[in-house]
Symmetry: C2
Subunit: 585 residues, 2 copies
């Protein structure tokens, strides 16, 4: 049906062929349900980015539409999300503190444009693996911290505080809350905020307990908005200090291409913010896509997905949108409401469009407190205590990365939290590559299998032979360590042999199976090792070097140096030829 | 003898006990020989750092003295070196272009101080492995580029050019040389320069051919200085445009603690330059120490060595010295002249001291051209074409790193060259950790050994079983890649099985021996893998997971998920229990 009119994009549009009424029925209902969650969330999240509410709606109109034609996930619901909105808001207001100014808005579009470019470039160059550098542990900490900070910031709306800090660390935020205790809180606001927050959390809890009632959580925010708006309108609570939305621009997205900074002093900041926000947004989108793809067992091309998200944001930046990605809460609703293809995104997009051109004036009396409760209810699930406990149990280093990101966000801001997360992740990689595992092997009794003697206490060492396995590629970053570690081991073994009156170590066998690659520094280290062994009258034997390693050893004449007959297919072979059995025969 | 008076430092002073007249004889001769090379080099190298000649001598007095009491190498001769001098000169004049100003000198001391702090901290925190991140390949390129740029810069002195660029890229330098062809060259200077350069190179060549004549190369620079100075003095060639040293401050090092910037606008630059120069200096010192330690088979503690070099530079910065480290050329002379301990450094230091307080006025008429020839003759050996050819043959990536550093130095400056070298080295590490090798295993006929089928074409796959070995720790940085690679392989194998009408793959055995560690992301990836396999009705078996991995798999309940009976000691065991043989029995 849609096939002929969209021939150009058919490549990405998996749902073109074989689309029928039944599939559409599923998508239609899912799209409607998701839209009812999307409209209030979009209005609320725009505030996290310090933007006017219509920009949230603009984003929720354009992003799903582009995604439907390019994305490869069937369940992802695209649009603005809480954490990226907060990140963007923090980074933008660090540059331009007056977020009512036109420059602020322009910088937001600039950042969105470059976020899209970043995402697209990563996808086109197939560099998607770069986002893997944000480890799961770091993400858990980062998300948890961001959720807590978003929640605390909502105290402004929930308590009706007038003068609130623009900073996003816990000390400043709690300071603002505390200093306003006596003169800033507004009881009418608190009643509205707390009542609807309770309602939303109960709805969420109900949906969690009974999966069939998922729609209760999905429509609860919209219900809250309608009820609270009606309530404020009839009681005129806004005259009693209840802060309201006041104005949402009516009509479809205006063009914004001319408002992007392609030169001037904000260009650098725009690129920097765009790259960071783009990467974080991608992390979320890819995680969501993969989760649902695994659930329904269809394949998802990560790189193609990045191009889709990137295109979405580039087009978005030209049409007054800000950074969008896959939303976890809305994708979950989309999935549970029975969506079949990305057509549900189109349905959602159309509903948002109708909202924009028809009913935005009705949001005039919507109290900000209810938006604050919607945000709070949405992000509270991001604090994943169970995951943190599991991190502690399994891997202490991961736990540290998680806590580093968490406290970075809490006590400084999302940027610093992110930086800490990346730095700790890198430190882990550096430790991994500089200190590879090196094991002493022994023979399992009654077999010809040689295993790590620390792991298999019944494995026995062959007298006069030290067998060592290096569990890593041998590169400049670890070659010195490996050489020195082996020599130290040899010295220790020699000392033991003397004590126990065993034969002196005469052969050093290096099991090379796990050595995937070696570089020039690695070969130099082996040459040094060979010379040191010569001085100690120990022969160097190699077992099972891989094809790449073998080729490089030949090219550097190392095989000639030690002799081709010193290289064996397996440790057992080397022992048979040179070990004590050999001397006996 | 010295033991009682230096009790406090005995820990580092390995030569205290058992030192006798015979050992001293060796050290004395070595010290004298090295000093004769050291004095002219020190004067010349100071010019590379844009400092007055006496600062080179100051450095050669203090550095060897400190090193003698703290260093653990017996052969290293400490003092100023060419490449670090050039690096320092470039970085300092980027900050303060007027290198006659007092601020320039103060910044040099500041950088030296922080270079020392950096080195000491790396040693104390046992972070010495960090300097391994400058790969051998990158160093070859960097040193070669620096040597060529130093040589080209010496054209100023050798040709007697007046107006010479302060930049250190090949285009600017050759531009200066070219633009001065018609009015700037001085033939008397050229005669002196070329004559002594030829003499020095012949001396060097002689020493290289016949190791016993090493002293010819060692005393040639001093001889050149004496001869040329005498020649200029009697011909008064300085009146005919031959540029001379003119003035070297007489007397021992003045204190310079008050001249270090501990605050103010240059503090940041001082720290940055210090960290970079300190790291490069360390690389050289450690490389030299290790080379000679391996040659004489004594052990060298890298971290202690760093503390020694660091202390040397901190004390140096307080006594008008600039960054010192181990000098390769002087250490080689020291070694060949038969030094026994670091006492030779003390002898050398005393000779430099005597030079400073007695004979500096005699250097007044030393022509700068002869200093330029000394520098050129010293650095020309750093261009190591053979090593580059070997890099090309062995590892193309290493070759690229080498060329990157080389051209960075040649066309921009030493800093950029260094940056490129580090960046390429890091890129290599990232590639290594994100895309580990994953091999499909087959059984070697007539054995129970399973090997990579790409490496051993006669290894045969077991029908209905896919055996995969992961050759890396499984971390967040590669867990996704590993999971997806395995699933893709399974899909391919299934397709093959269908074509060839072989039994469907029912078992996936993952050989875990090379998997040194796994983190939470890795375990999540395995859980995802398990679920995907369940959907495809394939059983997951693990062979020989290490103790750390096993513990983490248990802690995360993954072993319960797949069943403890699915974990085997070896691939052969797993096949025996679940493979086709099992079904037959």
């Amino acid at each position: 049906m849609l096939n002929s009119s969209f021939d150009g994009v058919r490549y990405n549009m998996y749902w073109g062929r074989g689309y029928n009424l039944k599939t559409f029925q599923g998508d239609f209902i899912a799209g409607l349900t998701t839209a009812s969650l999307c409209v209030p969330q979009s209005i609320a999240y725009a505030k996290l980015a310090n933007l006017d509410p219509q920009h949230g709606l603009y984003t929720s109109f354009v992003a799903p539409l582009v995604y439907a034609f390019m994305g490869s996930s069937r369940d992802t619901a695209a649009g603005p999300v809480a954490v990226v909105s907060l990140l963007l808001g923090t980074m933008l207001s660090d540059e331009i503190s007056d977020y009512k100014s036109h420059d602020y808005l322009c910088l937001a579009f600039t950042a969105t444009f470059f976020a899209g470019i970043t995402q697209m470039v990563l996808g086109v160059l197939r560099l998607g693996f770069l986002i893997d550098f944000l480890s799961h542990a770091a993400i858990v900490g980062f998300m948890g911290g961001a959720a807590i900070m978003i929640t605390l910031q909502q105290l402004k709306g929930l308590l009706g505080i007038q003068n609130f800090t623009k900073k996003t660390d816990i000390v400043s935020v709690m300071g603002s809350v505390w200093s306003s205790v006596h003169h800033g809180w507004n009881w009418q606001t608190i009643v509205i905020g707390v009542a609807f927050l309770t309602f939303l959390l109960i709805a969420k809890h109900t949906a969690k307990k009974n999966k069939k009632l998922f729609w209760v959580a999905a429509i609860a925010p919209m219900t809250s908005v309608i009820l609270s708006t009606f309530f404020v309108y009839i009681t005129r609570a806004d005259k009693k200090g209840v802060s309201i939305v006041k104005h949402i621009q009516k009509g479809v997205n205006p063009a914004s291409a001319r408002e992007i900074f392609f030169s001037g002093k904000y260009l650098g900041a725009g690129i920097r913010i765009g790259v960071v926000a783009g990467m974080v947004a991608l992390t979320e989108a890819v995680a969501i896509g993969k989760t649902f793809a695994a659930m329904k067992d269809y394949s998802l091309d990560g790189n193609k997905e990045m191009v889709a998200i990137g295109t979405m944001n580039i087009i978005g930046s030209l049409t007054s949108c800000y950074v969008a990605t896959g939303s976890f809460s809305r994708s979950a609703v989309n999935h549970m409401a029975g969506c079949k293809t990305a057509v549900s995104n189109i349905v959602m997009s159309i509903v948002v469009l109708l909202t924009l051109i028809l009913i935005t004036p009705l949001f005039k009396y919507t109290p900000n407190a209810v938006l604050a409760s919607i945000i709070t209810a949405a992000v509270v699930g991001l604090v994943n205590v169970e995951a943190v406990v599991l991190l502690w149990k399994i891997d202490k280093f991961d736990f540290v990365a998680c806590m580093g990101a968490f406290f970075g966000v809490i006590f400084k801001n999302v940027e610093i939290g992110l930086l800490i997360a990346v730095a700790i992740s890198f430190a882990k990689i550096l430790l991994q590559v500089t200190k590879p595992r090196i094991a002493v092997l022994g023979k399992l009794p009654g077999t010809s299998i040689y295993r790590n003697i620390q792991q298999y206490p019944n494995a026995t060492q062959v007298p006069g032979v030290l067998i060592i396995r290096v569990d890593s590629a041998i590169y400049f970053s670890n070659s010195n360590y490996i050489k020195e570690r082996i020599l130290r081991w040899l010295t220790n073994e020699d000392a033991h042999s003397k004590e126990d009156e065993l034969p002196r170590i005469q052969y050093l066998i290096v099991e090379m199976s796990p050595v995937t690659d070696i570089d020039t520094s690695g070969i130099r280290a082996f040459e040094d090792l060979y010379r040191s062994l010569e001085k100690r009258k120990v022969q160097l034997l190699l077992a099972n070097p891989g094809p790449i390693v073998m080729e490089k050893l030949s090219a550097s004449n190392f095989t000639d140096l030690i002799g081709e007959d010193k290289i064996f297919i397996s440790v057992a072979d080397a022992v048979a030829n040179f070990g004590p059995n050999h001397e006996e025969t």
